[in-house]
C-alpha cells in the first residue's frame, strides 16, 4: 500500500511494501518484500556537501533495504547503504553513505551513523547514540542509550586523513548508558563497558571496565554473558 502523498521514484519496490505519507523513495533505492516505510522517511538520499565538509563525498550508489525491514518515521537513509532483512531503523535516525548493516539489527530512535561503518547482525543500538565514521561493529553487540563515539583526535585540523579512526567493536560486546568511546579504541569480544565510562584505550575480551578513564574491574562473570 502506497500513501498518496509518498514520492516514489524507485522502480524497484518489492511486493507487500507499505509506504506511508510524505515519505520519499529515491530512484537509487531498492526495497525488498514487505518493507514498511514510515511517515516522512527518506531513502536513497544523495548527500549534498559544501566546502564545510572535509572528507571527499563520492556518489555512493544503490541503497538496499532488505526484506521485512521497517524504516520508521523521519528516518533518513542516504545512498550507498545496505541493510539486511528484518532490521528496524527507528524514528528520526540518520544513516550516512557507505554503511552496511546486517540482519535483524535494531537501530533505535534518533541514532546517527556516519559514513564508512559496518554493523553486524543481531546488534542493537539504542536511542540517541552516535556511531562515528570508520567504525566496525560485530554481531550481537549491545550499545545502550546515549553512547557517543569520536574518530578524530585532531578535531578536524588535519582533514579526513589516515589518523581518523573509528572503533572496532567485537561480537557480544556490551556498552552501557552514556559511554564515550575515543578514537581508534578496540573493544574485545564479550567485554562490558559500565555506564558513564570514558574509554581511552583498548578493552580486553571478556573483561569489565568502568570509570573515566575506563579501567579493568573484573572478568565477565558467567551470569552476565550473552553467549
Amino acid at each position: 500500500m502506497f500513501a498518496k502523498t509518498a514520492l516514489i521514484y524507485s522502480k524497484t519496490i518489492g511486493v507487500d511494501c507499505e509506504i506511508s505519507d510524505y515519505s520519499i523513495i529515491y530512484e537509487n533505492a531498492l526495497l525488498g518484500r514487505s518493507v514498511f516505510v514510515g511517515e516522512h522517511a527518506v531513502i536513497g538520499r544523495e548527500p549534498r556537501p559544501t566546502s564545510a565538509i572535509v572528507r571527499e563525498i563520492k556518489k555512493a550508489g544503490t541503497t538496499i533495504i532488505g526484506d521485512y525491514c521497517s524504516v520508521s518515521a523521519h528516518a533518513v537513509i542516504y545512498s550507498g547503504v545496505s541493510i539486511g532483512p528484518n532490521t528496524l531503523i527507528g524514528d528520526g535516525s540518520s544513516i550516512m553513505p557507505e554503511v552496511s548493516i546486517g540482519e535483524q539489527v535494531l537501530i533505535s530512535r534518533n541514532v546517527s551513523i556516519n559514513s564508512d561503518v559496518v554493523i553486524g547482525s543481531y546488534t542493537r543500538i539504542m536511542d540517541n547514540s552516535h556511531i562515528t565514521g570508520r567504525t566496525r561493529i560485530g554481531n550481537h553487540v549491545f550499545i545502550s542509550v546515549g553512547v557517543i563515539s569520536a574518530n578524530d583526535n585532531a578535531f578536524g585540523g588535519k582533514g579526513f586523513c589516515e589518523s581518523v579512526k573509528g572503533q572496532i567493536i567485537e561480537d557480544y560486546a556490551s556498552i552501557g548508558v552514556g559511554v564515550v568511546l575515543l578514537p581508534g579504541v578496540k573493544l574485545g569480544f564479550g567485554c562490558i563497558v559500565a555506564a558513564g565510562s570514558v574509554v581511552k584505550k583498548d578493552v580486553d575480551p571478556e573483561t569489565i571496565v568502568a570509570g573515566n578513564p575506563a579501567v579493568f574491574v573484573s572478568r565477565v562473570p558467567k551470569h552476565l554473558r550473552r553467549y
Partner: protein
C-alpha cells in the same frame, strides 16, 4: 571458615572502592549485598568472579542471590 573467606573477599572489594572494611560482627547472615553493604552491579560481578576463583562455584548460576546466607547456601555451607 567459608564465612571468613567470604568476608575477606567482600572487604577486598570494599577496600578497592575506598570504603571502610566490615567486621565479622557487622556482617550477619541476613545482610543484603545491595541494601546493607551497598554493592552495585559491578561489585557483584567482581564478587562473583572472586568467589568462583576461590571456591570454583558460580553463585549466580541458579538465579540471583542477595544475602550472605544465600551465598553460603550456594557454597554448601548452610545446607
Amino acid at each position: 571458615m567459608v564465612f571468613e573467606k567470604l568476608l575477606r573477599i567482600i572487604n577486598s572489594i570494599m577496600k578497592k572502592k575506598g570504603e571502610q572494611e566490615l567486621s565479622a560482627h557487622y556482617l550477619t547472615e541476613n545482610s543484603s549485598l545491595r541494601n546493607d553493604i551497598g554493592f552495585d552491579s559491578l561489585d557483584l560481578a567482581e564478587l562473583t568472579v572472586r568467589i568462583e576463583d576461590e571456591f570454583g562455584i558460580d553463585i549466580f548460576e541458579h538465579g540471583n542471590v542477595d544475602t550472605i546466607s544465600e551465598i553460603l547456601k550456594r557454597l554448601g555451607e548452610n545446607e
